[in-house]
């Protein structure tokens, strides 16, 4: 295959002077169920090749699929979160095509009666406005295996001598979410595409039904783009750019295709309906290998599986349990905690929002929780080169430390030592306090004895205090703190000093 890199000759701004872009986005999400869509093999990323396979997912003769209940539940949850209707009677269908990574040479999917349909997602854009993306449908299907291309110069599919197949991923549950054509976005089309995928990712993450890791392929986007000359009603010919693997790539791929289409159309050419591949390096797309004939998938109802009829009760139960939408939650949190836009953005950018929220849920005041995560812990994470979320301390533990400070058991300085201890694997905050002997000396009799001792050692200072020079007490406090190795509350010591001097007079 030739790899001519076509320059995109038009910027988005130039494109929208002459054309209205139309987009359709198809997003595949791998569910994080324990087992596969149609068999009890583990659904896990990165296992040894062909160790999570059985007669069903290998498509062995005689085997039959068995629908995973949790996958159906996840599909309905996604649909509800996208404001979709749930179909009263939905069924599976076979999509027939030959490809070696698909063991049965058909994919069990849904065709005419997807489980959920007709929804929308209000997508927040960078300027604070929202864009409503209409959802046509979301349906259940199964993933394919993975091939490794051997020999040849590149290790890629083209020029390989042979391929090796691993079917661990074959049969992993997928939800495909399909938008209706997105029109009218004009110059913002690439941004809308990215924002939609980003919002969808946040929603699904919030549901907890998928890892939605674009880098690991658990979320994959295909972007359809076409251009419609301004003032016309009919859609132009579309191209489908496959497997765009990051949010940034979604935006770049749409931008590139818009420019490329305009270039072709304005030079008198026509767009070929085809699948294109996005190249991360160059930010361009290239044509896939054209099929010898148009795809005819010969869909028909899957005879091995029976229809699904979700009960109203069950659907309402799932609906009632839906979490808040992430951006709605952010807005609520901003109000509740009294954050400025900038403070909220810092929290989000530091990936600390969930951690802080969980810390607050565990009983800490928002201000202290936020301060711990974005200041001390963010710094710790940075120093040890791990993500904030991967630090070896839980929001509950941070909340406990904050409580210990507010109770007076720890000073801020001691608290940092406790956190260090937790991070070092010394156990819970209370374990560290006990293990390192870090608690503030709050036992008044012990403290009083230490104060009396210091006073006896420095009679001149005692005299100064008696003379009303209370600032002189600092010397005594310093001595007490030294004697208690910093584990006393300085304010408490100060008041004790003044008390004892007064009592002694």
């Amino acid at each position: 295959m030739t790899s001519i890199v076509e320059a995109a000759p038009y910027t988005v701004e130039e494109v929208v002077e002459r054309f209205d872009p139309v987009m359709g986005l198809e997003v595949h999400v791998e569910l994080n169920t324990a087992t596969k869509m149609f068999c009890g093999c583990r659904n896990e990323f990165g296992a040894e090749p062909n160790t999570n396979v059985c007669p069903v997912c290998l498509g062995l003769p005689g085997s039959l699929p068995r629908v995973n209940a949790r996958a159906v539940e996840s599909a309905v949850l996604i649909g509800l979160a996208l404001n979709c209707s749930v179909r009263e009677r939905s069924g599976f269908a076979r999509k027939n095509y030959f490809y070696p990574d698909m063991p049965k040479n058909f994919q069990i999917s849904q065709y005419e009666d997807p489980i959920v349909f007709d929804g929308y997602l209000d997508v927040p854009l960078d300027d604070g406005t929202t864009w409503r993306v209409d959802i046509e449908r979301a349906h259940m299907e199964e993933d394919t295996g993975k091939s490794l291309h051997m020999g040849g110069a590149t290790g890629r599919i083209h020029g390989a001598d042979y391929s090796l197949l691993d079917y661990n991923r074959a049969g992993v549950p997928l939800i495909e979410i399909v938008t209706r054509p997105i029109e009218g976005a004009g110059v913002r089309a690439p941004e809308v595409a990215r924002a939609y995928v980003s919002a969808l990712r946040d929603v699904i993450k919030g549901l907890g039904v998928s890892d939605v890791r674009m880098d690991q392929g658990s979320m994959r986007c295909d972007a359809n783009v076409s251009l419609k000359p301004k003032g016309t009603a009919e859609f132009g010919t579309r191209t489908e750019t496959k497997n765009v693997n990051s949010l940034r790539s979604v935006e770049r791929a749409v931008r590139y295709e818009m420019g490329r289409h305009a270039g072709v159309l304005l030079s008198g050419g026509t767009i070929t309906q085809e699948t294109r591949h996005f190249d991360e390096q160059s930010g361009t797309t290239s044509a896939g290998r054209p099929k010898e004939t148009f795809a005819d998938y010969r869909f028909f109802p899957e005879p091995d599986l029976v229809p699904i009829e979700p009960s109203d009760d069950w659907v309402e139960q799932l609906r009632a349990g839906l979490p808040e939408r992430p951006w709605e939650r952010r807005a609520r949190i901003q109000t509740d905690w009294g954050l400025s836009d900038e403070e909220l953005r810092d929290l989000v950018n530091a990936d600390a929002l969930d951690l802080v929220a969980d810390t607050v849920d565990a009983g800490a005041p928002p201000e202290s929780a936020r301060s711990w995560w974005v200041a001390y812990l963010a710094q710790e994470a940075n120093t040890s080169g791990v993500a904030l979320t991967e630090l070896a301390i839980t929001p509950e533990q941070v909340a406990r430390v904050i409580t210990l400070v507010s109770e007076g058991t720890l000073t801020n300085k001691l608290a940092r030592q406790v956190v260090d201890g937790v991070l070092a694997g010394e156990g819970s905050p209370d374990d560290v306090v006990a293990g390192r002997g870090l608690a503030v000396v709050s036992d008044d009799s012990a403290l009083t004895a230490a104060v009396d001792e210091a006073l006896a050692a420095q009679p001149d200072v005692v005299q100064k205090i008696r003379d009303g020079k209370t600032k002189a007490a600092g010397a005594i406090v310093g001595a007490v703190m030294k004697a208690t190795r910093g584990q006393a509350d300085a304010a408490r010591v100060q008041s004790l000093v003044l008390e004892r001097v007064a009592a002694g007079s």
Binding site: R42, L58, D101, Y162, S163, L164, V306
Partner: protein, 98 residues
């Protein structure tokens, strides 16, 4: 009446991954034509009749999301025409499925 040509048979054979011979194109086009003439009688059925794809009166048959032991890799690969590095070895793949 159906009218299945050699070209139609060649197209179907390509879709179905059958490397049919020239002789077969002749034989099959005649036979498929005769079969389709017979089975084509269903086209007379009223369009208002709803379709039946499943006869068993059952719905909502689901499996709990619980692990069932997989095959040993050796057993999984035992029937393979060729295997390498714990994987099924297949001839070169010409292009990605589009």
């Amino acid at each position: 009446m159906s009218d299945i040509t050699r070209e139609d048979v060649a197209h179907l054979a390509r879709l179905a991954r059958l490397a049919v011979t020239d002789d077969e194109l002749d034989v099959f086009s005649g036979q498929l034509d005769a079969i389709l003439d017979t089975v084509g009688r269903v086209s007379e059925i009223d369009d208002d009749v709803p379709p039946t794809s499943h006869v068993a009166p059952i719905t909502n048959v689901l499996r709990a999301d619980e692990h069932i032991p997989s095959l040993d890799r050796e057993a999984a690969l035992a029937g393979a025409p060729a295997a390498e590095e714990g994987r099924f070895r297949v001839p070169r793949i010409l292009g990605e499925e589009l």
